[in-house]
Symmetry: C2
Subunit: 595 residues, 2 copies
């Protein structure tokens, strides 16, 4: 064993032993393990005041912080991968309005508050933006720990909190992708944000569709060998490989880990994979949290008492207000809303990941990270008390509230119950939502096909050069190829659109208003909407594929040919699309069985 | 994520993806996973001929081989740790004579053959010694795989093979410690080998006794929290920490990993620990085996066809002959013996670890490693055929064998059955073995106490300087302190020795021979043996603790005081010792229940 390996093992030994001892102590005093790790990191870190006082081993007990940090990044990947495994598309579709409302309200308000606080303290634009993002996310680990300790995990408000956390996960992933873009370009243009979000959504939809078609099949194949070793190696290979792909596409590795986790969550082997990957995650995430502790410099903390105090207050009050309001607006009673808000008001591991992102990108200041850790530590300690305080506070509020305001609140709830669909309406709304989702996925795939053809246009053109030298013809071939591949999805989208517009026409054009024109108006609407949508789609595609767009005459010829092909091979295309759809839904169904 | 982390993730992605794909292929063609890993390493390694031909990415697909190698060393630690977990003292005590005979025969013959082969090819002394050690060990992984494939895992010869493998493990650990010593000092003195083996056995006994007293208790305490994360972190901390301690004592890390694994094997949480550590081991051991593949240079292999051919033949025939002979001498019939020998004739992961040791110590030549890998690959492929061929060969041998030789073999078996103890004899032999073991452990602990006092003499003397300045008195105090701590063990050893010598006297001095002196002779023997042994022990201790030995007069005073204390506090010392012994046996019993 050479010297480097020994010093590496020594670092790991010190790290794990300290982490083990401190977490046992933390557990005795009923604090979350994460706090223990961070404390352990601080104890063995270079800023430990005891070492400096004794002028013993100035650099702390860790010889090679660089290696530990590299392993810590693996920890982030495994943390996000496991978050993805626990996330699931089904869960996202089934969370109610509360989750969406509360998560949106929380993220919008907290990003804004974070930005304002940063500006108030005179921090840089980047520090302020990152602070906003850091404050936006709550901590699943800490909430689960607090709710289990209080034995409230199965109450209704707890279920609503878990719904909010799921929505937060996917929005947080979006925020991370956005922040990476902003950090590289250096400024925040609304147009750019819009295009980043668009591209990101597109990438996520395409990755999920292709991933769910391929990955669970591959995993099922490997699982047949009944070797947990091979399954683990395959899972790790796919995880790292996908992360790498995502990095090559200029997105964050964290996004890749989460997405591949979400894809694997749809496989039958989910339970087995979770069991295999958990020890690996625990090992590396311990390193990640200890590495956070290594960075805490008490001098920085002592020099920043006000930001820590103010941000802690902002986190607690901002989150309680925004989440409670969101929950209330979605139709919960005051008590439940307040409990949801109280439960969600802390920051945790997601915030560390965002802070670490800012640090590795080199765009945030050094003091941000320790402040975030301090605020997280404080809000972790307060979370259980907040949850317990929710009921007394809601009782006090109710008794103090002036009668008119209470009446307004009561009326709001009644109104909400009136406008929400009932009986058949619920079914129809669910159907419409499903159709819109299908149309969206089909359009996203078409857009992805055209973007991919534009991306690969140069090598394809070089290849075509052997036979066809004319630039316009080459473009025409590539474009019509992309169109041909897209046809199944376009036809499917058209059919769904038609079904949707018929439903809308039926519901929107009531016989008592349109009188004898009812049927005709309905038919016009039912025909018009799909055609208009397809037309818009074509213009969008022409914009996106500008680099491979042939001349207008050729385009018209291609479009006519495509229309002819579409009409002639209509049945075949539908069959192809149905097969793909069935395969996708099968996997999703199988995943459900696996749970 | 900074550039270094991305290149690291890329390496891991390439490694895991290739390993996953190749092992799936290997599994399809019913070859062990280990071969797949090595092949994967070769495919992505810097010596892959395809890359060199295409002059594409000259260094292979791995950017940072150094980091991969560091992780590979973690892989060795986890491999040996899991080997330790599967090893168990109980298993070692319960393996029969076959295992000991076959393992000793195999190791002696193969080390000698390896040395001779190395010398024959004109290799250096170190290369030859390492080759001997490499050839001595068989591969558990490959045998288990072959036997499961052949569905022979539960046959009698398979059980005997597993026994041999357990003995091999502990002897292999000894060989590794010896090799490290030889590599550092550079030569092989019989005296030094003896002292190394002595010190090693002492260290192992002390580590096992103290470890089994402390570690399972600690693990039970941590397991009470019912957090598999905390248990994992504690296990990892203990594993790395113990490895580090062992390295500081100038032993190999591999030894430490194995020992702490063997200690944890006695805890109630064994099953849980195995489940937690397995994915971690699988991940890192995959990296270890792939790293082996990275080092294979086909040019080296092609330039060494003769050594590979000769060593392969030596492995197959040498192991078949030595193991079969050992099994036969221990009393098995010819067919079983041949099957044992055929099953054990290959080399595998232990050989890689020894080869890696030679490489990291920088004492073996570069060509040794690839040759070992090639021989391992070939013998892996032949193992299943060998096992299958055992029966036909034994039939052929029986029919060809001249009658006189067959009769001699038959007589040997009969003689062996005659001399082996029967009825009460079996019980008495087991009892004697147990008492000898207990005496050995107690003496080892006493020796360890004196060695430790000699080790810590300087700081203790410095501390004593405040009160006592005379050198001789200081030494006297330290020496008598060591003696006081040793007293419980010395008294226990004395009592066991007395019991043993009474039994021996009873059995050795038959009434029909000694006549009317019988009782007196027996009593003399029963008193003499313990006193002589204790006397020898004292002289040994005086030699070992030469550096802290006071003058003779003082020593006599101390000895007299000690004798007085021993007689006066006899009961108390026995109680202390019994408590320790009960605690130790309790843990061993609890471990058994846990299985």
């Amino acid at each position: 064993m050479h010297a480097h390996a020994i010093s590496f093992i020594q670092d790991l030994a010190v790290l794990m032993l300290t982490a083990g001892m401190v977490t046992i102590l933390c557990h005795r005093f009923r604090q979350p393990v994460v706090l223990g790790y961070i404390l352990a990191g601080f104890l063995i870190g270079p800023h430990m005041p005891l070492f400096e006082l004794a002028s013993l081993s100035k650099g702390g007990l860790i010889n090679d912080e660089e290696s530990i940090k590299t392993l810590a990044e693996l920890g982030v990947i495994f943390l996000m991968f496991c978050l993805g495994l626990e996330f699931s598309l089904r869960k996202l579709f089934s969370v109610g309005a509360t989750a969406f409302f509360a998560a949106f309200m929380e993220i919008l308000l907290m990003v804004w508050l974070g930005w304002e606080v940063g500006q108030f303290f005179g921090w840089t634009r980047m520090d302020s933006i990152f602070l906003g993002a850091i404050l936006a996310m709550s901590s699943t680990t800490i909430i689960v720990k607090a709710l289990s300790d209080l034995k409230m995990k199965h109450e209704r408000f707890a279920q609503q909190i878990f719904g909010v956390l799921i929505v937060e996960d996917i929005l947080g992933i979006g925020i991370i992708a956005l922040l990476s873009g902003i950090a590289v370009s250096g400024n925040v243009e609304p147009g750019e944000v819009f295009s980043t979000v668009g591209k990101l959504s597109l990438f996520m939809i395409v990755a999920l569709v292709i991933g769910i078609l391929l990955v669970p099949r591959l995993l099922s194949y490997v699982a047949k060998f009944e070797s947990s070793e091979m399954l683990l190696i395959t899972v790790l290979g796919l995880c790292f490989g996908f992360c790498l792909l995502v990095v090559k596409l200029q997105y964050s590795m964290v996004l890749g880990a989460f997405l591949i986790g979400a894809i694997m969550a749809e496989s039958r082997q989910l339970m087995q994979i979770e069991k295999l990957i958990e020890p690996v995650r625990d090992m590396f995430s311990a390193i990640f949290f200890v590495a956070i502790g290594l960075m805490i410099d008490p001098a920085t903390l002592l020099s920043q008492p006000w930001p820590i105090f103010v941000i802690t207050l902002v986190v607690i009050f901002g989150k309680v207000i925004s989440c409670s309001l969101g929950a209330f607006l979605a139709g919960n009673d005051g008590r439940t809303s307040l409990r949801v808000g109280m439960g969600l008001s802390q920051i945790g591991e997601f915030s560390f990941i965002i802070a670490a992102l800012g640090m590795t990108l080199g765009v945030t200041s050094d003091f941000l990270y320790p402040i975030v850790v301090a605020v997280s530590a404080i809000t972790t300690l307060t979370t259980p008390y907040q949850i317990r305080a929710a009921d007394p506070i809601s009782r006090t509020l109710t008794s103090w509230m002036p009668a008119p305001i209470a009446r307004v609140f009561g009326l709001y709830g009644e109104w909400l119950r009136n406008i929400s669909p009932q009986g058949d309406g619920v079914l129809i709304m669910a159907m419409i939502r499903k159709i819109i989702l299908q149309i969206g996925v089909n359009f996203a795939l078409v857009v992805a096909i055209f973007l991919a053809s534009a991306w690969f246009a140069a090598p394809i053109a070089a290849y075509l050069n052997h036979w066809i030298s004319q630039d316009n013809l080459q473009k025409g071939i590539i474009w019509s190829g992309a169109l041909l591949v897209s046809l199944p999805f376009l036809i499917a989208a058209y059919r769904k659109l038609k079904a949707l517009s018929m439903m809308l026409a039926e519901m929107g054009v009531k016989a008592e208003k349109a009188g004898r024109h009812t049927l005709r108006v309905r038919r016009v609407i039912a025909e018009l909407i799909p055609l208009l949508s397809l037309g818009t789609m074509f213009f969008l595609l022409m914009g996106l594929s500008a680099s491979i767009l042939p001349t207008m005459e050729l385009l018209v010829i291609i479009a006519l040919c495509a229309a002819l092909v579409a009409v002639l091979l209509r049945r075949w295309f539908i069959r192809v699309h149905t097969k793909i759809q069935v395969a996708l839904l099968d996997t999703l169904e199988q995943g459900k069985e696996g749970h």
